[in-house]
Amino acid sequence: MCFLSNLIWLSSNLCSNDAAQPWQFGFQDGGSPSYEGIVELHDDIMFYLILILVGVAWMLMSTIRKFNWNHNQIVHKYLNHGTVLELIWTISPALVLIAIAFPSFKLLYLLDEVIDPVMTVKAIGNQWYWSYEYSDYLDQEGQSIEFDSYLVPESDLEIGDLRLLEVDNRVVVPVDTHIRFIVTARDVIHSFAVPSLGVKLDCIPGRLNQFSLVINREGVFYGQCSELCGVLHGFMPVVIEAVSLEQYLAWLSDQIPPYLTKEGYTPCIYLCITHLPSVC
């Protein structure tokens, strides 16, 4: 899939398609169960869509063909009522709507569920950058990890970097881990969106929204602010980097300010205790 898309679009992405491509029509490659659910719903609905398209086109075409100016057969000229026909064209769309509604609601409520998160990441939208907080890891003074994430300007890009998508500080998270994201904003409404993870959630000042995320493969996932938030709306991308648990813990210990690594400080670590006692 990704090799093919690379051949066609000559993109610099040599791995999975986790960022938007020029002239892309299809989906990006999924990185989370939510995304797979969304694609599955799309495919389900597409089945009914094709059914309806074929049915309607067939009726339209046969009407045009049979009742054109040349052979104008006025059949059923005095027909103004047909119970069977009306029942069919009322009940069959209703059944189609039900068949679409059920998987749709199922997915909607599944995506809403934050069952048992192991860690929490806060994403806060600002004009025009994102700031992130990891507050599960606190020292004795209550200090937590927080950083801002700005777009890398075009002049600073390196070969292989994606223009308008690369940021200076990525959100690093472990794979195969239930993560709760809390999103909000400080000034105006923003929207936290990463297509390949099936995530798009509005960030509203004064309100904390949550969504849950399990990333099922390592990779770098790109997204952009998706609520018009001012002049630089298009220049505040989101980059999520999913790494193995060991790499994540290594990244975490890099985030700790040096003055905190004195005695008494434990980078907390529910993750560590439950998953990797040997590393702690």
Partner: protein
């Protein structure tokens, strides 16, 4: 014991604003009633830190110090 804020049946919705707020209030009520070292209070502490943005926390801390926090925290 979970070290972070897990699922709370009072806040099953996408909107977690009150989840953060309630844990903040509960922590300070808890330590006023039972003292800072009472271990069950720690859970509220971790929960509000993991849910509330840091600027909310510092704003509320300032309000408590100035005495204009909107909730009575005394037992």
């Amino acid at each position: 014991m979970s070290l972070i804020a897990g699922f709370d049946a009072r806040f099953p919705n996408q909107n977690q604003t009150k989840h953060c707020w309630q844990n903040y209030v509960d922590y300070f009520k808890c330590i006023k009633a039972r003292g800072e070292d009472f271990p069950p209070c720690k859970q509220f502490f971790r929960a509000y830190h993991s849910l509330c943005p840091n600027d909310y926390i510092s704003k509320w801390d300032t309000q408590r110090e100035e005495g204009n926090f909107p909730v009575n925290l005394n037992p």
